[in-house]
Amino acid sequence: MSEAMLVADRLTRHFGGLTANLEVCITLERGKLHALLGPNGAGKSTCINMLSGDLPPSAGRILLEGQDVTGLDSAERSHRGIGRSYQRTNIFPQFTVLENCRLAAQSRRPRPWRIFTDAMKTRDTVERARAAIVEAGLGGREQRKAGLLSHGEQRQLEIAMVLATDARVLLLDEPLAGMGSEESAQMVELLRELKQNRAILLVEHDMDAVFAVADTITVMVEGSVLESGPPEQIRNSEEVQAAYLGEEEHG
């Protein structure tokens, strides 16, 4: 626990009468990938939204390296090192791939007063963006308009944008959805690399991918944590089998 980076402490979120998250506790450690599983509507995205600052919790706290960040908005949390990708692709469709990532990189080097500087020629942001694009497997696509990429490529772009912000905590909401098997394998490889000096929370329905990279798995059902532990424990848990993994065979 000494390397705990991000801690969700009894996070609760109500939507009217619906309790989307009830006292959810999750700890993300540096160098570890924590997978969050659960059937549709279990509350996984809601949990990520609270951790990233997109959604205020109804109750509970969020600690980043021991500091309470519950009251910070998403922009401030981003500057503290939390980065996220979205389940529903959330990019700048009219901009090129490079510009999508360059804007992400620029948030760390803003220069708002340099109005006579050409943003596209700020070398550090362009270089950071290019490196992130290559890392996410989009090398060669820099000048394509983001909106014209295939769905899988847009998922890769989401990852590239998070990388370009130099986030230390990654919250990834179904990054593999819609990717081809080759792209998926590549992304799993990337996740393995990325987790070495970061803390990662991965929401993913692709079980092969999850069991290939996860160090810890938390299973949620109807807003609550059903079980949490190492992959072997989760794989052999009868409760999890009954609640979730069994029905996944069909999906």
Binding site: A75, Q106, P110, P112, F116, T117, D118, A119
Partner: protein, 322 residues
């Protein structure tokens, strides 16, 4: 379109504008000067509407506040110093925009349109109905400001041609300034906010501050236009702040094409040119103007700025946009 051709075209337009006083009658020189002032006004609004995605329906407030500032602080029968009154007017407009921005930028979409309009209406009534505006009919600016700088007088605004060139230079300066701003890191953030503000926030941008800076800059530049308008016609009236004026400048931006500075300039030319032409024919010129706007939106969705590309679509310029 080839960017070299575009630059050449812009330079040709600039050259034509520079030569114009040599050939145009004084009536037309004043008309073109008025258009150039409105072009500054339209560009300032384009920064918000076309580039940041903030549809303000109260932009005339900043135009009018600057115009009133020069009329109120200039001595009645002597020339005020041009540089002093220019700075004061622009600062007043910028400060007003900053203050209003603090409130209105907390709203979005239709609410933003409503509250910008509401603030402009308040400003209108302050000048129309309170002692500050002196009279609901307006105020004369009897003497044109004097351009002296430390005892040296580079030009005189009493000469219509020199006034015209001063306005043309201001228009060109605003065009160049905004062109730089738009490609700067700050300008790219505005483009990002226009495209997807939510994503900008999650990438770490405090978007409110950027929008406030854009709103303030747009207000200050509208102030440049309002100042020049007051100096050009030697008169200010509360109508400068009216919602008609806010609507007209919005129409110029739309007519010109959202997202293009040159389009905003073209929109000002087209709008005022047509207004002049139609009002010669009939006092119901607004009807004709309405028809033109509807036709333009239907048949020219990218505005005047998009016309060259549409016309030259059959010609392959080697640029790939799909």
């Amino acid at each position: 379109m080839n960017s070299g051709v575009v630059t050449l075209f812009k330079l040709a337009v600039l050259a034509g504008l520079m030569l114009f006083p040599a050939i145009g009658s004084s009536f037309y020189v004043e008309l073109v000067a008025k258009i150039l002032v409105m072009a500054i006004f339209a560009m300032s609004l384009a920064l918000l509407v076309g580039f940041t995605g903030l549809v303000s329906l109260g932009h005339a407030a900043y135009f009018g506040i600057a115009a009133y500032t020069v009329a109120l602080i200039a001595p009645e029968y002597e020339a005020a110093n041009l540089w002093f009154v220019l700075a004061a007017s622009v600062l007043a407009a910028g400060a007003a925009a900053f203050f209003v921005g603090l409130f209105v930028l907390r709203t979005k979409g239709i609410y933003f349109i409503m509250v910008t309009l509401a603030f402009a209406q308040m400003a209108y009534y302050i000048f129309h109905d309170t002692a500050l505006g002196r009279s609901s009919d307006g105020i004369y600016l009897n003497v044109k400001p004097d351009a002296s700088l430390f005892g040296w007088t580079p030009f005189s605004l009493d000469d219509p041609a020199q006034l015209y060139y001063f306005i043309l230079a201001a228009m060109a300066a605003v065009f160049v300034l905004l062109s730089f701003v738009l490609r700067s890191p700050f300008g790219r953030v505005l483009a990002g906010i226009h495209s997807n503000e939510h994503r900008m926030k999650s990438l770490g941008y405090a978007t409110f501050r950027y929008k406030l800076a854009a709103f303030t800059l747009a207000g200050a530049l509208a102030g440049v236009a309002g100042f020049l308008y007051a100096v050009l016609f030697g008169f200010v009236t509360p109508e400068y702040l009216s919602w008609h004026q806010s609507g007209n400048v919005l129409l110029m931006v739309i007519l010109g094409g959202l997202g293009s500075l040159a389009g905003a300039v073209a929109g000002a030319f087209a709008f005022i040119g047509l207004q002049e032409m139609f009002s010669d024919w009939t006092k119901h010129w607004q009807l004709l103007m309405g028809l033109v706007i509807v036709a333009a939106v239907l048949f020219m969705p990218t505005g005047l700025a998009g016309l060259p590309r549409r016309i030259f679509r059959t010609v392959n310029w080697g640029e790939d946009d799909e």
